[in-house]
Symmetry: D3
Subunit: 64 residues, 6 copies
Amino acid sequence: MPYVNIKVTDEQVTTAQKRQLIEGVTQLLVDILNKNAQTTHVVIDEVPMGNWGHNGKQYKGTKS
Amino acid sequence: MPYVNIKVTDEQVTTAQKRQLIEGVTQLLVDILNKNAQTTHVVIDEVPMGNWGHNGKQYKGTKS
Amino acid sequence: MPYVNIKVTDEQVTTAQKRQLIEGVTQLLVDILNKNAQTTHVVIDEVPMGNWGHNGKQYKGTKS
Amino acid sequence: MPYVNIKVTDEQVTTAQKRQLIEGVTQLLVDILNKNAQTTHVVIDEVPMGNWGHNGKQYKGTKS
Amino acid sequence: MPYVNIKVTDEQVTTAQKRQLIEGVTQLLVDILNKNAQTTHVVIDEVPMGNWGHNGKQYKGTKS
Amino acid sequence: MPYVNIKVTDEQVTTAQKRQLIEGVTQLLVDILNKNAQTTHVVIDEVPMGNWGHNGKQYKGTKS
C-alpha cells in the first residue's frame, strides 16, 4: 500500500503522461504521508467517453 | 460527488442505453438525496463475460 | 451482476433513502438493460466530508 | 454479496486461469466466511502494463 | 500488483478469518498466475448491512 | 472527471495531510493532462490495518 486508482476519459493519454502521473502521485504519497514507494501502486483506467456521465449526460468529446 | 460506478458484462450495451442509465441514476440522486447533477459522475464499466464469475463459474453468454 | 457502487459524502443518509436508491437503481437495470434483479448488487459507500476533494479542496459541510 | 475485484496486469491470462481464480476465490469465501456461492461475484480486470505504476515506474513487461 | 478488493457485509468477520482470506487469495495468485506475493495486496471492505442492496432490497441480517 | 481513489491504511492521517494530497493530485491532473479542477474528484479511503494484506500477511502497525 498505498493503492491509487485514477479514472480519466479515454482521450489518447500518452505513455509519457501516464509515467508523469505515476511518478507525481507516488512522490506525493512519499512526501506527504511518508509512504514507501516500493509498496505504492497506481492504476490508471481510461474510460470510453460514452461510458462517462456528468451532469446526467454522456461526454461527447468535450474536454473536461 | 456523488460518484457512481456501474459494472455490467460486455454484451453490446448501446449508446442510448448508457445515456438512459446515466440520466436515470443521476435523477435518482437528485430526487432522493437532493444532490447537484453538476457534480454527479456516473462511470459504466463493461466487463468481458469470461472475466466475471458468479456462483464460482464464468458467465458463458447466458443473460443474467 | 450487475454490480453498482455509489459513493456519497457521509451526511446522515437515512435507511429509507438508501432503500429508495437501491430500489431505484436496481429497477433501472431491469428496465433499461433487462437485467435480473436477483443477481444485481448495489453497495453504498458513505465517505467522510474531509476525505472527499472537489476542485482541489475538501468538502466542508457544504451540500453538493 | 460478496463481491471481489481482482486487478492484474494484462499479460495473456488464459480463460482456464480465470476460471481457476474464480473457483478458488469463491471457494475461499464459502469455506472461511460461510458465504453463499450463488450470491458471490468475482470480477477480473486486466490492466495494460503501461497503466500500472509500482515504485513510481510503469511496468515494462517485467513479471511481478 | 496484483491488487484484490473483497467486499463483504459487516458481520463480525474476525481477524483470523481476514488473515485466512488474505493468505488464501494471495496463494491463489501465486499458484495460478505465478505472481509475486511481495507485490500482491488484498484489501477487505466491510459494508454495513443497510448499505448493501441485493434483489432491490437491503440486507436485513440474513446471511447470504 | 477525473475521479481518483486513494487507499491507505488507517494510521491517523491528519486533515491537513488529506488537504495536501487532494491539492497535489488535483494539480497533477491539471498540469499533466490539462484537466479541469472543477470536475476533478479525489476520494481517500482509510483501511483498518487488519483489513489490508501484503505479501500474504495483515499489516501489524508496521509503516509501509
